[in-house]
Symmetry: C2
Subunit: 423 residues, 2 copies
C-alpha cells in the first residue's frame, strides 16, 4: 500500500472525527440541569428520553472526552466535558457507605440499580485513570485506586484466580445462573486488563503492575482458546468452559435466542473481541515495557483468526461471531466489532508486516465510512444487515456510546501516522 493510500485513510478518519463524531457529542451530551451526560439519542440525534444514566455510558463518555483531549483534540473543551462527567460520577454514582459505583441512576441521579458489577467498575478505573492522565486532576486516580482495592478485596476469587463479576450493593456475590455469580467472562477480564493498564500508566505502582500481569497471564493461559488463541466467552468459577448464557443484568446489547442461550453456546468467539483483546494486550505490554514478542503466538492467532475468517469480502466489514475453527455464525455487522478490528489490524500490519492485515483494515475502513457511519447525524449505526442496511437505528443508549467509535478513530489515526512516519 502506498503513502497516498495511508494519507487518504488518515484524512478520512480525521475529517470524520473532527467534523462528525466529536461534534455530535459536544453539541448535545452534557446534562446542564442534573449533571453528567445524556446518552440516549435516536437516529436524528434527538434525545430519545429514557430516564437512565448507566455506569457504562457515563464512564465510557468520560474516557472518550479525556482520551480525545489527551490526543490533543477539542482545544480544552473535551477536558472540561470529562470533568463535568467526573463530578456527576463521584457525586451521584459513588456508594459512600459500601464503596464502588452503582450500576444505574435516573437522570436526576437517584439510584435505580445499586448492584456492583465488575464490568462497570473496570470502566470506572479506566476512565478515572485516563482523566487524571489527561488533566492532572488527582480525584480521578484517587477513586480509581479505591475501586481497584475493592476489586481485590471483594472481586478476586482466591481459590481459582480471576474475578467474580456480579455483586449486590454490599459486595456479596450474586447467586448462580442468570444472576451471574458463578461465572467468569472474557469480557470482564479483558476490560480489567484495559483498566489496569491505564491505572498503572497513571500510578506506576508495583501492585498495579503485578495485578495487570496476573490478569494478562490469566487471559493468555486460561481464557483464550488453548489451540486457536481465540476468546472463549464464559467459564465456570474453576475455569471449565461454560455454555454462554444471558445475564439478568446485561452490560452489552448482545443477541441471544429467546431462552437466553447462544445457538452455539460452547463454540463461539467474537472477531471483534479477539482483535480488541490483541491490541489492548499490545498496548498493555508497551506500557509495561515488555516486548510484544513475549506473546507473539497469542497475538498472531487472535489477529489472524479475525482477518482470515471474520472479513466479509463481498459486502465489506467484519462479521459478529463464529466458531473457534473459523466458521461464521452471525453475518450481521455490529458497530463495535468494526471499531475494534480497525485498531487491531493496524497493529497487526505494523508488527507482522503482512499485507493481508492492511487489506482487512482497508476493507473495514471503507465499510465503516461508506455504510456504518450515519453521516446525517455523525455517529455510527449500532447494527446493520450483512449488506449494510440499518437494523437498529439509535445513535446512543445505555450500552452504546462513543467509547468504541471515538477511540477507534483516534487510535487508528495515531497508528496511520506512525506508519507514515516510519516508512
Amino acid at each position: 500500500m502506498t503513502n497516498e493510500t495511508l494519507l487518504r485513510c488518515r484524512q478520512e478518519l480525521h475529517t470524520h472525527l473532527t467534523t462528525e463524531l466529536l461534534p455530535f457529542w459536544t453539541a448535545r451530551t452534557a446534562d446542564h440541569i442534573n449533571g453528567g451526560f445524556i446518552t440516549h439519542f435516536d437516529e436524528y440525534g434527538n434525545d430519545s428520553g429514557e430516564d437512565e444514566k448507566s455506569l457504562i455510558a457515563q464512564t465510557r463518555s468520560i474516557y472518550t472526552y479525556a482520551s480525545a483531549h489527551r490526543a490533543v483534540y477539542g482545544n480544552g473543551a473535551l477536558a472540561e466535558l470529562a470533568r463535568h462527567g467526573v463530578e456527576y460520577l463521584l457525586a451521584k454514582m459513588w456508594d459512600t457507605e459500601h464503596g464502588g459505583f452503582y450500576w444505574m441512576t435516573n437522570r436526576k441521579g437517584e439510584v435505580l440499580n445499586d448492584q456492583k458489577i465488575v464490568y462497570g467498575q473496570s470502566f470506572a478505573i479506566y476512565c478515572l485513570s485516563e482523566y487524571t492522565l489527561a488533566t492532572g486532576d488527582p480525584r480521578g486516580v484517587d477513586y480509581a485506586q479505591k475501586v481497584f482495592d475493592l476489586l481485590q478485596k471483594y472481586g478476586a476469587d482466591t481459590c481459582y484466580g480471576g474475578y467474580f463479576e456480579v455483586f449486590d450493593r454490599q459486595w456479596t456475590l450474586s447467586g448462580p445462573g442468570a444472576a451471574g455469580g458463578n461465572r467468569k467472562t472474557l469480557d470482564a477480564h479483558m476490560h480489567l486488563m484495559e483498566a489496569f493498564t491505564a491505572l498503572y500508566e497513571c500510578t506506576r505502582q508495583p501492585i498495579h503492575r503485578r495485578k495487570l500481569l496476573e490478569v494478562i497471564n490469566l487471559l493468555v493461559g486460561k481464557i483464550m482458546h488453548p489451540i486457536y488463541g481465540t476468546g472463549v466467552p464464559q467459564f465456570w468459577a474453576d475455569w471449565r468452559v461454560a455454555p454462554q448464557i444471558k445475564f439478568d443484568v446485561i452490560w452489552g446489547w448482545d443477541r441471544f435466542t429467546e431462552d437466553g442461550v447462544k445457538r452455539e453456546a460452547e463454540d463461539n468467539t467474537s472477531y471483534g473481541h479477539n482483535a480488541e483483546f490483541a491490541w489492548l494486550l499490545i498496548h498493555a505490554l508497551s506500557i509495561l515495557e515488555i516486548p510484544h514478542e513475549t506473546y507473539f503466538n497469542q497475538l498472531q492467532k487472535a489477529l489472524s483468526h479475525a482477518a482470515d475468517y471474520g472479513i466479509d469480502w463481498e459486502f465489506g466489514g467484519v462479521f459478529v461471531e463464529g466458531s473457534h475453527g473459523g466458521k461464521v455464525y452471525d453475518r450481521e455487522k455490529e458497530f463495535w466489532q468494526q471499531a475494534e478490528v480497525l485498531i487491531g489490524f493496524l497493529d497487526a500490519y505494523r508488527l507482522f508486516g503482512d499485507e493481508k492485515y492492511w487489506r482487512a483494515y482497508e476493507n473495514v475502513h471503507r465499510f465503516v465510512l461508506d455504510k456504518m457511519v450515519n453521516h446525517e447525524a455523525g455517529e455510527w449505526w449500532p447494527l446493520m444487515t450483512r449488506q449494510g442496511v440499518p437494523i437498529w437505528t439509535h445513535m446512543s443508549h445505555s450500552w452504546k456510546i462513543n467509547y468504541h467509535t471515538v477511540r477507534s478513530v483516534v487510535q487508528s489515526i495515531r497508528r496511520l501516522d506512525k506508519l507514515l512516519t516510519t516508512r
Copy 2:
C-alpha cells in the same frame, strides 16, 4: 476405653495446664520495661537473652492468653496479659505507613526485619480476632480486618488463586527461590484457614466467610494430595508441586540438609500438619455451620494416615514426617506434632468412632506427659530422640512458644469433657 480412662487423661492434662504450663508463662513472659513478651527461655526457664521479638512469638502468645482466658482459665490475669501483648503489637510492630506487621523487632521495639510475611500476618489476624472474642476490646478485630484487607490486595494471586507469601515492607513480592516469592505453601494456607475462621467467628461478615470457604476449597482441592489426602508442603505459583526448600526467612525451626533441601523433597508429608489441618478444618466447618461430612473423605484420609503410619508404638509419640504412601523418613519427636495430633485424634475418635484413634491418642498423651514435658520447668522439650532424650533443650525462642502446647491441652480437655458428657 472407659470413663475412668477419659477422666484420668483429662485430670492429667488439667494438672499440667494449671500447675505447670500456664504458670511457666505467667511467671516470666511479660516485659515490664519495653512492653510485649520475652520469649527466649532455656531449659531451666531462665531468660536466654536473645534481643528479639518475633511477630510469630508475640502473636502466638497473644492467642494463647486470649484463648485460655476464653476457656475460663486464669481468673482474668490471662486477658490482662493478652492486652499487654496487643499494646506492644500495635504500638511497635504495626507499620503505620504501609500497613501490616513487621517481622521482627528487638526487645526495645526497634525494627530488625521489616518484611511482610503472610505466615506472620495470618497469626496477627488469628490472635487479634481471638483477643476481641475473649475480651470485647474492638482494637483487636479492627486491626485483624486491616490485615485481612491487605492480604486481599497484596497477598492474593489473581491468576492462579491462593496467596503469595513473602513481601518487602512496601508489599512488593519477593524474588524466586530461597527468597520465597514464587512458592506457595501448605503451612501459610492452613494458617490462613485458621485465621479466617477466628475472624469470621468474630465478625460474621459475608466476605470473611467467603474467603474462608475459598481457602478451604483451595486446601482440599489443590494443596492436599489428590490420592492420599495428605499435605504437600510446597508448590510453584501455578500449583505444580515444588521441591521443598528452606526459605531465607524461616518461620519454623525445620530441619533441612546443609544445602537447604529435604532428603525426600517431593514426597514428604508431616503427620502433625495433617492432623492439625484436619481438626482446624473440622473447627472451621463448625463455625461455618457446614456439616463435617461435606469433607468426610478428606478428613478421614488425613487423620488415618497420621494414626496408621505416624505413631511410634515402640517408644511412643508421633514421628516428624514421612512419605504420602506411609513410609517414615524422620523418627525423631518434635513438640508441635505431638500437640496437634492429640487434638486431631480426639476429633477423629469423636467423629468416626474408631478405637484406633483413641489408642493413638493415648499413646501420644502418655509420651507427652512422660517424656515431652520438662516437668522441672513446666514447658515441653522442643525436640527429642526417637527414644525420648532431649536434643534441643530451649523452652522457648522466636519460633517455639506456647501456642501449640497450651492450645493442645486446652482443646484436648474440651474434647475429653465432651466425650465424657455424651457417653
